[in-house]
């Protein structure tokens, strides 16, 4: 799942997979701006058939935090 989430982020931001490290945060690269962040959220929701709770969106600030949230929702 970790790799799948990273692949989605890389594809949405149109950057190489190598750029998408666990610690990469929104705003760290020009491609990951607010529009890119919204695109990441909606693409993950569509492709993995999950829905991020609104109150959790504020804390989804890094690749790792998104992976953790996806795993939490899929295992719930």
């Amino acid at each position: 799942m970790d790799t799948q989430v990273k692949e989605i982020i890389a594809r949405v931001l149109n950057v190489d997979m190598g750029v998408i490290t666990d610690n990469l945060s929104s705003g760290d690269i020009p491609e990951w701006d607010s529009v890119g962040n919204l695109a990441i959220i909606s693409t993950i929701e569509q492709e993995l058939n999950i829905e991020f709770p609104l109150e959790d969106l504020f804390d989804l600030t890094s690749v790792q935090s998104i992976i953790d949230e996806v795993n939490k929702l899929l295992n719930a």
């Binding site: 149109n14 705003g27 701006d33 804390d59 600030t61």
Partner: protein, 490 residues
């Protein structure tokens, strides 16, 4: 500062350094730069440019990055009469190639990934030269009406248009804006807007002209980090486009209301912001000046409206920004029309550009000395202006102006569509304001919509890829064969 009478902006910054030498002008990460240091570093940067053989009237490309070196070089160019062409180095290769091809810059600074941007001298390398303290430069015979910056905007025909802004224009815009918003020397502003746009670059100039402190923030994507900056730096103001407000609401709910007591102003860029959002902002920020500007790169911040002071006409785009700005509604012959009558909104004043970089772009751009905005609207009997339509067909995607022609060219460029047209539609998600919709002509099509989208993703930024697609038998056209996009929007 040496002879800087040509630049009221630089004169004012020098005055701040003289009167408040230890006042912090810029914060970037752990660096805090005082006005004294700022002036010194601008001089050093001018010396550096001189050592590179750059002189008055030369064009330099500056990559719009939130780096201190960007600020030093930007003002250094003004100091010695060189002309800044501020670009987003991450912009599509085609756009950078076009700008590079018509400007013929003598040097490029910053960093980027595209072929053109690879020739940029990195800010990191420049820092070494700035530290060496080169101070030689020449600033004789520079006039306040000389071009200081060329900013490229999206043109309706697809090619970007270079807007020439004089030293007087950029100082005029900053003083008009500060006068309305009331930005003062005790303000601390967070700048998360891109510097490659007129709005973000304008905020940089406004804050430094006011003698206030500017905190450079990468962007709004990481709201947790942005809110942390608001708290730790005790920020009193910032600027955002309506799409960022929708983003803040979506990602953080009403958390931003916790800063209501410390935020003295918020400036909004001109784009669709629903009345209910204006009311929500007034509720969350009862004591903050909520100022929305109307303007274009060619006529920056022509009008303003403050929400609390205009509760009964929140759908207005406001009134002229200062007594030095005039706004007039005119008919197709350039004659003024009466109150309540729709016409083209035209602007003249201290901040209005006198010409485009390419002479042919000036055709039909002015009625005498009145700049034609391309927007339609009217004035009421109280002097408030209202937008009713846009003559220009640009699509405003979250503050990014997108030419329908450039999307159409990219769709045709996929090789599987013979004819198409793109228009703006309201963002179905209610975040970006407008998004593109594509109409594809069935005849001659050899690709599916999914295949077109896939091919577009390689050549267009995500925000330029249409979110809605419709197959049609034909496109509405004028007798001369021009596509009538307005009819597709109906």
């Amino acid at each position: 500062m040496r002879d800087v009478t040509h630049s009221r902006l630089l004169c004012t910054i020098a005055e701040h350094a003289a009167t408040s030498p230890c006042k912090v002008a810029l914060v970037a990460g752990a660096s805090r730069i005082t006005y004294t240091q700022l002036v010194h570093n601008i001089h050093c940067a001018a010396g550096y440019l001189h050592s590179r053989g750059i002189k008055r009237g030369d064009y330099i490309l500056l990559s719009a990055q939130k780096e201190l070196e960007f600020v030093y070089l930007y003002f250094a160019a003004h100091l010695m009469g060189a002309i800044n062409v501020v670009v987003d180095a991450a912009a599509p290769q085609e756009r950078l190639d076009y700008i590079n091809g018509i400007i013929h810059p003598v040097a490029a600074f910053g960093a980027g990934q595209s072929d053109v941007a690879q020739s940029f001298t990195s800010f990191h390398d420049i820092q070494l030269d700035l530290d060496a303290g080169k101070m030689e430069y020449d600033s004789h015979e520079i006039c306040s009406t000389d071009v200081a910056d060329v900013m490229f905007t999206t043109g309706t025909t697809g090619n970007p248009k270079g807007v020439c802004l004089s030293h007087d224009n950029i100082a005029g815009s900053a003083s008009n804006t500060n006068g309305f918003i009331r930005t003062a020397s005790n303000d601390i502003e967070a700048l998360a807007l891109p510097l490659s746009h007129s709005f973000g670059l304008g905020r940089l100039r406004c804050v430094l002209m006011a003698g206030a402190t500017l905190v450079l923030v990468s962007n709004f994507a990481n709201l947790k980090a942005f809110f942390n900056v608001l708290a730790t730096e005790q920020v009193t103001g910032f600027g955002m486009v309506p799409a960022v407000w929708q983003y803040i609401k979506r990602i953080s709910g009403k958390r931003i209301g916790q800063f209501a007591d410390q935020l003295r102003y918020i400036e909004f860029g001109s784009a669709l912001l629903p009345i209910q959002d204006k009311r929500l902002l007034m509720e969350l920020f009862p004591h903050t000046r909520l100022c929305m500007h109307y303007g274009l790169t060619e006529a920056s911040r022509a009008m303003f409206i403050e929400f609390h002071e205009n509760q009964d006409n929140l759908n207005s785009i406001g009134r002229p920004a200062s007594s030095l700005v005039e706004v007039s509604v005119r008919d197709e012959n350039g004659l003024p029309v009466g109150d309540g009558v729709d016409g083209e909104i035209c602007v003249r004043g201290n901040m209005v550009s006198r010409s485009y970089f390419l002479a042919h772009d000036n055709e039909n751009a002015y009625f005498g000395d009145w700049f034609r905005t391309g927007d339609w609207g009217h004035r009421d009997s109280d002097g408030n202006f209202y937008l009713t339509g846009r003559k220009k067909e640009l699509i405003n995607v979250g503050g990014e102006k997108v030419s329908p022609v450039s999307i159409e060219d990219a769709i045709i460029g996929t090789g599987g569509i013979q004819e198409c047209a793109c228009v703006a539609i309201p963002d179905p998600n209610g975040v970006l304001g407008e998004v593109p919709k594509a109409f594809l002509v069935k005849q001659g099509a050899t690709l599916t919509v999914d295949e077109v989208k896939q091919r577009l993703s390689a050549v267009l930024p995500t925000h330029e890829i249409p979110v809605q697609w419709e197959w049609v038998d034909s496109l509405p056209k004028t007798s001369s064969g021009k596509i009538q996009r307005q009819k597709l929007k109906q």
